[in-house]
């Protein structure tokens, strides 16, 4: 997985490419803990993400919780597989998905 970072004012945007799974979820966790502190809102761009497993969901949930007191977290450009995973796990009711 590769993570491309873009910071615009207080908005942090991370674009993920590849697979967000057991092996790569710690990379996202590390990127978030490094850069999320200075951001008021977080955008995760999944347009190049192939799929997500529960290890990735775990990281998304803690990032979502961390951003609750701020301007929030948004996940954009999810593919069919990722959307299906969000729906069956109820994450589509928790996360803001565009």
């Amino acid at each position: 997985m590769t993570i491309t970072k873009k910071q615009t004012g207080s908005t942090l945007e991370l674009a993920l490419a590849g697979r967000l799974d057991t092996m790569t979820a710690p990379e996202l966790e590390a990127a978030l803990s490094k850069d999320m502190g200075g951001a008021d809102s977080l955008i995760l761009d999944f347009s190049k993400l192939d799929y997500i497993s529960s290890a990735g969901l775990r990281v998304l949930l803690s990032a979502h919780k961390a951003m609750l007191g701020k301007n929030g977290m948004k996940v954009v450009h999810v593919n069919d597989i990722v959307q299906e995973v969000f729906e069956v796990t109820g994450f589509s009711d928790i996360l803001t998905i565009e």
Binding site: D21, T22, M23, Y51, S53, S54, K65, I81, T89
Partner: protein, 136 residues
């Protein structure tokens, strides 16, 4: 039938996934089904890596079978670790709000949702977990 035996460590998940993907590509599995199976592999192999061998590590064998008549792909995971039937676990409450959410148990639940069938058996000192997905 093709199979691969590796140490049950999470570092081997990419190799297992690559092995199964090659089998799926050989039978013209649609990309969506392949990715759903890849998610299932991540969940199951990581479970084996984390819990099967508490005193260290052991092997896990991953076998691929395709039934062209039924159009069904089967991926079977075997390990000689602690007997553990993950299908016994009750499903997590997926309607809880974020703050009350625990992500434990979500992995195998996801596998149940993405696959058509899952079977578990303990035979000859082995955990045998199979996932079956219709791909054609």
């Amino acid at each position: 039938m093709q199979e691969i035996t590796m140490k049950a460590v999470i570092d081997n998940i990419p190799a297992v996934t690559e092995f199964i993907d090659a089998q799926l590509e050989a039978v013209d599995c649609p990309m969506k089904a392949q990715m759903q199976i890849d998610v299932a592999i991540d969940e199951i192999f990581s479970n084996i890596a984390h819990y099967a061998y508490p005193d260290g590590t052991g092997d896990a064998t991953v076998r691929f079978e395709y039934d062209p008549k039924a159009g069904e792909a089967t991926v079977c995971f075997r390990d000689r670790g602690v007997p553990y039937n993950s299908l016994d676990k009750s499903d997590p409450d997926v309607t809880l709000p974020a703050v009350e959410r625990a992500v434990g148990g979500l992995g195998i639940f996801l596998v149940k949702k993405l696959m058509d069938r899952i079977t578990y058996d303990y035979v000859d000192g082995m955990n045998v977990l199979s996932i079956i997905k219709k791909i054609a």
